[in-house]
Symmetry: C2
C-alpha cells in the first residue's frame, strides 16, 4: 500500500498531456483545448466601428442643426467624407465615415431624419466618442489565443472573428469502459438469485461524460470464462481502459495478471485510501493506460475522482474549476477505530451567509452508493486521524459534475 499522494504522483508522472491533435468544427469546439496559436487575418475592429446608433459628426461642430449627407447602416461602407457642418446617420456596427471624429447618440438628438434634411444635434460630444478605433482590439497577425487555451464561449467568439474554423484542438483520449463480475446483469434485466444490476458502468460513464469524454462501453467481463481476457484485450487497444471490479484480493480477481498480459506495467496496486484501496494503475510502453477501480460502487466513483479523473484531465489539458475546494464547518460526528488509511467521506455541502456547512449523508460503507446521490463533495481524514467532530472546520472537495 502506498499513500494517496504517492499514487497521484506516479499517475501524473506517467500520464503526460497529449500531443495528438485533430480539427473540429468551430460549432463543436467548446470544452476542447486549442492545439495551435490562433492568428488573426483581420484587424478588430476592421474599421472605425460605431458603437451607438446616432449621427456621425465632427465634434468641433458642437450642437446645432446640420445637414444629413448619408445614411450608413451596419454592413455598408460610407461613401461621403464628412466636412464641417455635415453629419451622417450611423447605426451600431457601421463604419464611421471619413472626416467624422465622434458619434452623437440618437437620444441626444431630435431623432432620425432623412438624407438631405437637417438633424437636430442637441448635445455636443467629445472627439473619439462612441466609436472604436480600427485594430483597437486585434492587429493583423496577432496571436489572439495561444495553443493550450481552453475553449469557452468567448474563445469561440474570438476564433470566429479571426476565421479559425475548423479549429485545431488536442485529441480527446479514446477510452474504453469494462465492468467485471459474474453477478452483474444489465439495468433492463431483472436480477435473478445472487445477481445485481450493473451500476458501475453508468456511474463511470457519467464521470467520463462530465470530462467531455465519450467512452466505448465494452459491457461486462465474466470472471469464469474467456470473456474477461477477450474484453481486456479489446480494451487494451484504447488510450485509456477503465475496468471496475476484479482487482481486490480474491483468488478470482484475475484482472491485475490479465492486465500485465496485455502489456501494462502495474505502477500502482493498492493505495492507503478508504474507500478505493485495491486501485490498480498501469501503463504500457506505447503510451496506453489502465485504471482498475474497485468493484464497490462508492469505491469506484471515489477512486475515479481521486485518480482517474485528474489523469484524464491532464492528458486532455483541461483545467480544473477555479473553486473545487471550500472550507466547510462539519455538521456531524464521525469516528473510526482503524486510522491506517486516508479516508474520504461523502458529504452534502450547503451554503448560508457565505459559510459552507458539510452535512452527513447517512453513508455506511463503500457499497452504499445511494448515499452519494445526497452528496456533492468529500471530506478527508488523513492517516492517524480517528475522528471528526461536529463544528470543526475542514476542506471539502466538491464534485465537478
Amino acid at each position: 500500500m502506498i499513500p494517496v499522494e504517492e499514487a497521484v504522483r506516479i499517475i501524473q508522472d506517467a500520464v503526460r498531456p497529449t500531443e495528438r491533435t485533430e480539427t473540429v468544427p468551430l460549432l463543436e469546439s467548446r470544452g476542447r483545448v486549442l492545439a495551435a496559436d490562433a492568428v488573426s487575418d483581420v484587424e478588430i475592429p476592421p474599421f472605425r466601428r460605431v458603437t451607438m446608433d446616432g449621427y456621425a459628426v465632427i465634434a468641433a461642430d458642437g450642437a446645432g442643426a446640420f445637414e444629413v449627407v448619408e445614411d450608413v447602416p451596419a454592413g455598408v461602407f460610407p461613401r461621403v467624407r464628412l466636412t464641417p457642418g455635415k453629419v451622417a446617420k450611423v447605426m451600431t456596427g457601421a463604419p464611421l465615415p471619413e472626416g467624422a471624429d465622434a458619434v452623437v447618440p440618437v437620444e441626444d438628438t431630435g431623432g432620425y431624419v432623412r438624407v438631405g434634411q437637417k438633424a437636430d444635434i442637441k448635445k455636443p460630444v467629445g472627439t473619439g466618442k462612441n466609436f472604436a478605433a480600427q485594430g483597437e482590439d486585434v492587429k493583423m497577425g496577432d496571436t489572439v489565443l495561444a495553443a493550450g487555451t481552453f475553449i469557452r464561449p468567448p474563445e469561440m467568439a474570438l476564433l470566429a472573428s479571426v476565421g479559425c474554423d475548423p479549429v485545431p484542438v488536442y485529441r480527446l483520449p479514446r477510452v474504453a469502459m469494462l465492468a467485471t463480475g459474474d453477478e452483474l446483469v444489465d439495468p433492463t434485466q431483472k436480477p435473478g438469485l445472487g445477481q445485481i444490476r450493473n451500476t458501475n458502468t453508468y456511474a463511470i460513464l457519467g464521470q467520463l461524460q462530465a470530462l467531455g469524454i465519450k467512452p466505448d462501453l465494452l459491457g461486462v467481463g465474466r470472471d469464469n470464462d474467456h470473456s474477461l481476457t477477450e474484453k481486456l484485450a479489446q480494451g487494451a487497444a484504447y488510450d485509456f481502459l477503465i475496468v471496475t471490479g476484479g482487482v481486490s484480493e480474491g483468488d478470482r480477481d484475475l484482472v491485475p495478471a490479465a492486465l500485465e498480459a496485455q502489456g501494462y506495467r502495474l505502477l500502482v496496486h493498492k493505495v492507503r485510501v478508504k474507500p478505493g484501496k485495491p486501485l490498480v494503475f498501469g501503463a504500457s510502453d506505447d503510451g496506453r493506460f489502465v485504471f482498475g477501480l474497485p468493484g464497490n460502487p462508492v469505491s469506484s466513483m471515489v477512486a475515479f475522482e481521486l485518480f482517474a479523473g485528474p489523469a484524464l484531465r491532464r492528458y486532455c489539458r483541461v483545467p480544473g474549476r477555479l473553486v473545487n475546494m471550500v472550507d466547510v464547518v462539519v455538521g456531524f460526528d464521525f469516528s473510526r477505530k482503524n486510522a491506517g488509511r486516508q479516508e474520504y467521506l461523502p458529504v452534502n455541502v450547503t451554503t448560508s451567509n457565505g459559510e459552507y456547512l458539510a452535512r452527513g449523508v447517512g453513508y455506511h460503507g463503500s457499497g452504499h452508493f445511494a448515499a452519494l446521490t445526497r452528496a456533492n463533495g468529500l471530506i478527508m481524514l488523513p492517516v492517524d486521524r480517528k475522528e471528526v467532530k461536529s463544528g470543526t472546520m475542514t476542506l471539502a472537495r466538491l464534485f465537478e459534475w
Copy 2:
C-alpha cells in the same frame, strides 16, 4: 429602463419550469432532470452481500482451522447452509451463505484453500462484519429518487440499480438562435469592406451548450430585406428564440416590432444595465419566449448570463452550481462618470491561500470581446456607485462554463 432585479423578476415570473417530459436512454440521462419518482423493483443489496474477499464464518467459532464447504464467487448463489466449524470461501459481491454471520477478510487468514481443505482463520471477527444486510440501502417499492432530481453520475448508478432505463426526464426546450446584421459574414468567409465576421452565434451557442442545450442555428437575418421577418417567423416556432442585434434605438432596429408581429408581448425592453441595456424579453400567450440580446458581443454574452441563462435553467429545472459567487479582493481601480446603470465588469479571478483576487482584463467597452477570453467572472457596480478601489472586497459572479 427598468432595474436589473425587476427585469429578472419579470422574466422568472413568465418562464415557469416545464411540465413536458420525454424518455431518454439511461446512458444519455446525465444533466437531465427526472420527471417521475424512480421506484425500486428490487432490494439493495438483494441478499446479504459480502463486502470483503475472505471466508464466510460463524463468528462465535473464533480463530482456528475450519473445513471449507463451498466456494461462492460473485454471481453464484450458495447452496450449503453453514454449521458450526465450517466456513465458505466468498468473494466481494457474493451472497453470504445461510448460517454465516460474518466474513473474515482473506488477509486475516492463511489464504485461500480448496473446498474440502481446512482454512486457517487467524483472527476472530465480530458478528455482522464485512457484509451488508439485505435491503439495507433500498427496500422494494421505495422511491429512490424523487421527480425533480438532477441526474449526475451517482443518480445514473442508482437508476441503473432499480432498472430505470429508459429514464423519464423533463424535455429540454427547443431553442433557435438568430444573429442579425447586414455587416455579418460567416467565420469561414473573409470580411469585405464594412463587414465583420459573425461572432455572437458562436458565443451564444457555447453558452447554450454549457446548459446542455443544442440550439438550431437560423443563420443571419439581414436588416434590409425580407430575411429578418422570415427568419423571425421561423424562430417563433421554437420554445425559445434568441436573437442578437437589432434591438437598440436605430431606425433600422426592426426586431422589437417584428417580434410583436410574431405574437410576442414585449415584457422587458431596456434594462438599467451596462453592458446590455437594449435587452428585449417577450412571451407569447402559448408559452413561447424570445430574448433579444444587444448586438455588441460582450453585451450579448453578459445579457445572456444575467437574463437568458437563468431563465433557461429555470425552464429546464437545472440547479445552479453550489459556488457561483465568491468574495474577491479587487486588484484594480475603476471609475465612471455616469453611474445611472448597474454595471458589470469582466474580471479574472484567481485564488491563493484561500483568498480570491479579481484582476482587470483590460476591458474597454462592449465591443471588446477579446477581453472576455481573459475573464472568468464579473463584478458588479450598483447604480450610483461611481468607483471601485483596488484592495476593497466585492462579490464576483463566476461564469459557469
